[in-house]
Subunit: 222 residues, 2 copies
């Protein structure tokens, strides 16, 4: 699904190459959806594509390199989703539901971004750049929402944020908006990741209503 980012090739060789790379990634996404990132096998992908084993190393230097590429595409996809929602004038609730749709559309893709980290792994710099894009879109939406006094209980942390706002990347939002963006991030991730991981199955209540309730408490002005 999607991920035709390599399609701007010119020479027939580059065209073929980017096509094979896209095929490999498509199969990789299928495998990850079925068995998780730890169950991804380059050998199996190569066999599925009709070519045998090490041919795949012409297109991706290593298993880690392929997974890093998938992680990058996942970040890119989320950043585009957030940017589209922000530019279409969606409020906090709209952004939340765009996030939920994106997550439910491919849970393992969500976990590639926000799941269990591998202790040694360090993401490349451009991925942290995309993460900042995501944060910028979130800040745009939070800043456009009707301003509201932050909850008195967290006034101390909001004051702390006014002096530690490097992560906002120069965004001219008041500390209350920063606080609300962080609350959006942590709370939406909290309820979403537990739902995606299946921790709500068998509990009886409907997960989407819990999600909506958390969204509602995030936007008490409406």
């Amino acid at each position: 699904m999607a991920a035709d980012a390599d399609a701007d090739a010119v020479s027939p060789r580059e065209r073929y190459r980017s096509q094979v790379r896209a095929d490999i990634k498509a199969r990789a996404w299928e495998q990850i959806a079925k068995a998780g990132a730890s169950g991804l096998s380059l050998n199996a992908i190569a066999k599925e594509l009709g070519m045998s084993g090490p041919a795949l190393y012409r297109y991706f230097g290593s298993r880690d390199e392929l997974i890093t590429e998938l992680i990058r595409d996942a970040y890119r996809s989320l950043a585009d989703t957030f940017r589209a929602a922000a530019d279409s004038g969606a409020g906090i609730g709209g952004l939340a539901h765009a996030l939920r749709r994106w997550a439910l559309d491919d849970p393992q893709r969500y976990f590639l971004v926000y799941g269990t980290p591998v202790p040694g792994y360090q993401a490349p710099d451009d991925i942290t750049g995309i993460a900042q894009e995501i944060m910028a879109a979130l800040l745009d939406v939070c800043a456009a929402a009707e301003p509201e006094a932050p909850a008195p209980a967290s006034a101390g942390f909001t004051a702390h944020l006014s002096q530690h706002r490097d992560w906002a990347g120069g965004h001219p939002a008041p500390p209350g908006v920063l606080r609300r963006a962080l609350a959006f991030w942590t709370r939406m991730h909290g309820v979403l990741s537990l739902e995606l991981a299946g921790h709500f199955t068998g509990m009886g209540f409907e997960p989407d209503r819990l999600f909506d309730a958390e969204v509602a408490e995030l936007t008490p002005g409406r």
Copy 2:
């Protein structure tokens, strides 16, 4: 660390067996802390213990069985932590900080419980039983906290909970308490898992202050 649950053996053979099992699990925890669950190698553990390869299969039927045992121990450890906090009269804030200490003490242990799920994997029934213990302790603490009207924004979901409370396991808590327990669970997990995964590193603010702010918004009565 800990996990001497097999120590109530009698015959010298069982005694030796449970000792070796404990050694294996100790090495497994070390490996998981360093390389994550996907980097756990039975072969490497056996070599570290001086025995060679397949000898380990006398003690654990498979790699999955060992990991399942570690997951069970992680759940057990968290349930004990929650129960101890609840019985010692800790409030919601106390329970939250006990959870945070437990998580920071071994992040990969936390992710074994709440991290990325493997699509095929299904936890044994007794583990879901321990999960209910955790929920019961959380409900005890939330019920003992001073009662307070739920936020008006989530009144609809609280009403929904009054009719879908199977997961509470017969706990006689009013729906507002159930709502608060779910908010505790999802919000604490949200901020904690992002911190443990390193998503806050380099952002400038202090993660523990964000955690405290979320705890404070959870207990606005104090």
